[in-house]
């Protein structure tokens, strides 16, 4: 072969490398696509989502609990002030959990346990394998839309001409021949709506505009984001990552894992009471489920244990999640929710215990300081120089308002070990005098200011039109 001189080879090499790498280019991705028309299924799903005639009461639809103006979460004004929705044939039966936001729900991954860590799935306990399976369930749940079965749902659909027509346009008449197939198609249609309609995933918050260089965060908002990320301060990003996670091209502020945060028992939830009755009609709540995973001798009869019950995966789920009776280490764990739109999805946590973000953050950073648990043998006393948030005492109360016997009183004491006490902000930095909250009151204000920027609907060209949530108004707390 003909041998090239080193100089020629080097020249060729350098020339080729420059040619090969000169183009560069950006990986920023394509611009956000313009909204496109909904598919036939999604169009039908939209009609089904808002059709209250499909419920036994005639007054309840998906949309009456998942209110669009509240990021498809509940409007407390419609539930008589309860933290849980009312439903049933007479709209007098309370549910068990606060209505979650459906915004961005379609981006939730399927339930899986990877390296021992449960992640994803639908409902707060991940018991539905898909958005479609989840969407079917309220139609036949006694304390929600309260149809007796799929056949009753089909009958109501056939009696709702406008919705029926769109449903048939999408699925054809044959699907009506089987009630189960009809209900499954209803679930698919609603899931298509929640997946396709841009209002479910607008990524139009002030935070998004800031990332796009179209808005400025205030100093407090910037500080709040820094505190949110700081592993020794808020450490919120540990479960609500502000980094991109691969589930979306945007940060979703959830890693879809499960955690037991030890939130106090909410006595405003009727099933939590010693004698559960409807606050509307007074009827006994005989649908409060038996507790197969509650240990004998537990303080209360009913507990909501999240991943391990009391609600099992739907019987008609084609890919059912396992039923977790063991290990009990999963008892009390609930899915980490997105924080997008969190300022308009109060009350907070699965049991709606806290009404404001300030209250949530105050509780987070003082949970084990005020309550004198084993996690904190030397709590900071209240008063000057001490804990600035709450008077000394516990936020864990009995129905009568007295301090409860145990902390983490929304879990049987046997499951207290499942509560997360190893991470900031639960585990505050130690110092010589004991332990202090990781966030000061002023810092909590900043974190709340940042959380308020996650509310969708910000228009960079018209920031004054931003509908600032009430708890984000200046001076609100």
């Amino acid at each position: 072969m003909r041998r090239s001189s080193p100089a020629v080879l080097a020249g060729w090499l350098l020339g080729s490398t420059l040619a090969g790498c000169g183009g560069g280019g950006s990986d920023s991705g394509a611009p956000r696509p313009a909204p496109t028309a909904l598919s036939a299924r999604a169009t039908a799903g939209k009609a089904l989502f808002f059709d209250a005639s499909l419920s036994a009461s005639g007054r309840q639809s998906c949309g009456t609990c998942h209110v669009p103006s509240r990021a498809f979460s509940a409007d407390p004004a419609t539930d008589h002030g309860l933290p849980v929705p009312l439903g049933g044939r007479n709209m007098d039966l309370p549910g068990f959990r606060h209505t979650p936001s459906l915004a961005y729900a379609a981006l939730t991954p399927a339930f899986a346990i990877v390296a021992g860590v449960p992640r994803g799935g639908f409902f707060r306990d991940g018991r539905a394998s898909s958005l479609a399976v989840q969407a079917q369930q309220p139609f036949v749940t006694r304390f929600e839309m309260a149809n007796a079965d799929a056949a009753e749902v089909r009958a109501r659909l056939e009696a709702s001409p406008a919705t029926l027509q769109q449903f048939l346009d999408a699925f054809g008449e044959a699907v009506l021949s089987d009630p189960g197939a009809t209900l499954a198609a209803i679930g698919e249609a609603i899931a298509a709506f929640e997946s396709e309609a841009p209002e479910f995933a607008p990524f139009s918050s002030k935070y998004d505009a800031w990332l796009e260089g179209k808005a400025q965060l205030t100093a407090a908002e910037q500080s709040g984001l820094a505190l949110f990320n700081d592993p020794a301060k808020g450490n919120c990003t540990a479960c609500h990552p502000s980094e991109l996670q691969g589930y979306s091209q945007h940060a979703l502020f959830t890693d879809f894992t499960y955690d037991a945060v030890g939130v106090p028992r909410n006595w405003s939830i009727p099933p939590n009471l010693p004698t559960p009755r409807s606050p509307i009609s007074g009827v006994p709540l005989d649908y409060v489920p038996a507790q197969q995973n509650v240990p004998a001798g537990a303080e209360y009869a009913y507990y909501d244990l999240g991943l391990c019950g009391p609600f099992d995966p739907p019987a008609d789920d084609p890919n059912p999640r396992p039923v977790f009776t063991s290990p009990t280490s999963l008892c009390g764990l609930f899915k980490v929710p997105t924080l997008r739109n969190v300022a308009i999805t109060a009350p907070y946590f699965h049991n709606g215990e806290f009404a404001t973000l300030h209250a949530v953050l105050h509780w987070y950073v003082t949970r084990d300081i005020n309550n004198n648990t084993g996690n904190n043998p030397t709590p900071v006393p209240a008063g000057p120089g001490g804990n600035p948030y709450f008077p000394a005492g516990t936020s864990y109360l009995t129905p009568t308002g007295t301090p409860d016997l145990y902390q983490y009183n929304d879990l049987p004491v046997q499951f207290d070990g499942n509560v997360n006490i190893g991470e900031v902000p639960y585990t505050p930095p130690a110092f010589a005098g004991g332990q202090a909250p990781t966030l000061s009151a002023a810092e909590i204000d900043d974190v709340v200011a940042f959380l308020c920027t996650l509310t969708d609907g910000f228009e960079p060209q018209n920031p004054a039109a931003y509908n600032v949530p009430a708890q984000c108004q200046p001076g609100a707390e």
Binding site: P6, L13, D27, G422, P429
Partner: protein
């Protein structure tokens, strides 16, 4: 570890080799004579005996090759006679052109005749590729080699964290397809057990083919080690001082740094080597802005955590993103006995930090790393110095989007070290080489879009385990190391050292190690 490179096809005359060996030996001997003439004379005699032995071996091999060649010629003649005309005979590699395996191309590049006997005795890579200078296993061209290291490390401020580890067990396989074409590969098990539930890893460290283009130029393709610094290519435990690799060539030059690509390399008669290539680059989308807990709590974890800028983003040819490629150029000079000078630079666009679709992107994020190093081995001394610096461009927006991060992307990082070793004692194959090193590393010397990492003050949780508290370490430090290598021959070394950290003082540690290479 760097296996032997394809060497010039020109076959050195045995007399030339003897002269080279004598020259090398005498250079070392003369230098040593200033301190200890009788010992030097004895050493010279030993080396002369080794040369004579090598000469005899070469002579034997030469005779065998000639006999083999004559036999092949006879067989070829018989075949030609039996089959006329001979099919494509001219296309076959000429048997008569088969040279004996040449010596390593840059054998004289290693100056450590006094300090590192294994390397000096066998040439670069030869310690781990013993078949290079011979016909291979059973004359097939197949070669095997290996190296590994076991250590004990004792953080003296927190002895609960003392650890022992089979840090590396590495085996290499090479094959010489023909006199100009050679394949080399290395496979490494880190931390003894590699499975989905264990801490260990199994990885391909090198996998490339070298093809000689001319007497002094070769081309290489595949997964290969980048020619940066002292350690990246020559990291067998017999080739460096101290139980663990130095921090600069771990945290700044991310040894063992390898990339996939193609390169050309060669040398010149005046002792100048060069190496240039086009390779895969770095992936900044792997950056973790939000480590919840300190990524490392002691010096050992600092090396193993992969948190350093280029450790965190190198791709190791594992489904590597190849949209962006890097270029590199390395040069070395070994024309003066006992002196090695070298420098290298790599630059290329990285896979960018993920950003929302409509986020403003200021431009490509480019990763550049350069280094310069020098080594001088007068008499019993072995003196080394190295400086390395890296930069990452257009990181401001990514950092601004992650305020409060304890681990923002740096705009620049650097490190340097000075090291002195001395052959204090030698008897037969035994050598004792104490050394001292001062090194400085800074994994984030400047930042864009943020004042810097938010390092919590005071104790923070080190894990999710309640009560597990500790300090969040600084990402820069100055480390002093004193210790000794005790060679039990060219292939075995016992090591010990103590390290002091000026910033992360709780990292101070005592180490003990056993290394081998063959």
């Amino acid at each position: 570890m760097k296996p032997a490179q394809i060497a010039p096809a020109r076959r050195p005359h045995p007399i030339v080799m003897v002269a080279l060996l004598l020259g090398t030996a005498s250079a070392a001997g003369v230098a040593a004579a200033a301190d200890d003439a009788p010992a030097s004379l004895q050493g010279l005699q030993q080396q002369l005996q080794q040369v004579q032995s090598a000469l005899q071996q070469l002579s034997n091999e030469n005779r065998e090759l000639r006999e083999h060649q004559a036999q092949l010629d006879r067989q070829l003649a018989e075949l030609r006679a039996a089959t006329a005309p001979a099919p494509n005979a001219s296309a076959l590699p000429s048997v008569t052109a088969l040279p004996s395996a040449p010596p390593p191309a840059n054998a004289s590049a290693l100056p450590s005749t006094a300090a590192l006997p294994s390397t000096a005795a066998l040439g670069p890579g030869a310690t781990a590729t013993p078949g290079t200078t011979g016909p291979g296993i059973y004359g097939t061209g197949l070669r095997l080699w290996g190296y590994g290291e076991v250590y004990y490390t004792d953080p003296t401020d927190d002895r609960r964290q003392a650890q022992a580890d089979l840090a590396r067990a590495v085996f290499g396989i090479g094959y010489q397809f023909d006199p100009r074409t050679e394949f080399n590969s290395e496979y490494e098990v880190e931390h003894a057990v590699a499975s989905s539930t264990d801490v260990g890893e199994f990885e391909v460290e090198q996998f490339y083919v070298d093809r000689q283009l001319s007497d002094r130029v070769s081309v290489r393709g595949g997964l290969f080690l980048m020619p940066f610094g002292f350690l990246n290519e020559h990291h067998e435990p017999t080739n460096f001082y101290g139980v663990q690799r130095n921090f600069v060539e771990t945290l700044i030059i991310p040894s063992t740094w390898r990339e996939g690509g193609v390169s050309f390399h060669g040398d010149t008669p005046v002792g100048l080597t060069w190496n240039a290539g086009l390779t895969t680059g770095f992936d900044l989308s792997k950056w973790n802005f939000a480590p919840e807990f300190p990524p490392y709590a002691n010096a050992l974890e600092l090396e193993d955590s992969g948190i350093a800028p280029l450790q965190a983003t190198h791709q190791e040819l594992a489904l590597a993103n190849a949209r962006h490629l890097s270029q590199y150029l390395a040069v070395g000079y070994y024309g003066v006995p006992g002196l090695t000078l070298g420098a290298a630079i790599s630059t290329g666009d990285a896979v960018p930090v993920p950003a929302p679709p409509n986020a403003a992107i200021p431009g490509n994020q480019r990763v550049t790393l350069w280094e310069a190093h020098a080594r001088w081995a007068p008499a019993r001394w072995d003196l080394q110095a190295l400086y390395a610096r890296g930069t990452l461009s257009n990181t401001a927006l990514a950092n601004q989007a992650n305020p409060g991060s304890p681990n923002p992307i740096p705009a620049a990082f650097y490190g340097y070290y000075f090291q002195a070793a001395y052959e204090l004692w030698r008897q037969g194959e035994y050598r004792l080489n104490p050394f001292a090193r001062m090194e400085r590393y800074n994994m984030g010397s400047s930042y864009q879009g943020t004042p810097g990492p938010v390092i919590p003050s005071g104790e923070v949780p080190l894990s999710g385990t309640p009560g597990d508290y500790g300090l969040w370490p600084q990402n820069h430090d100055r480390v002093w190391t004193v210790g000794a290598n005790f060679y039990l021959g060219p292939h075995l070394v016992l090591k010990t050292d103590y390290q002091w950290f000026e910033e992360n003082t709780h990292f101070n540690r005592w180490d003990l190690g056993l290394g081998l290479a063959f």
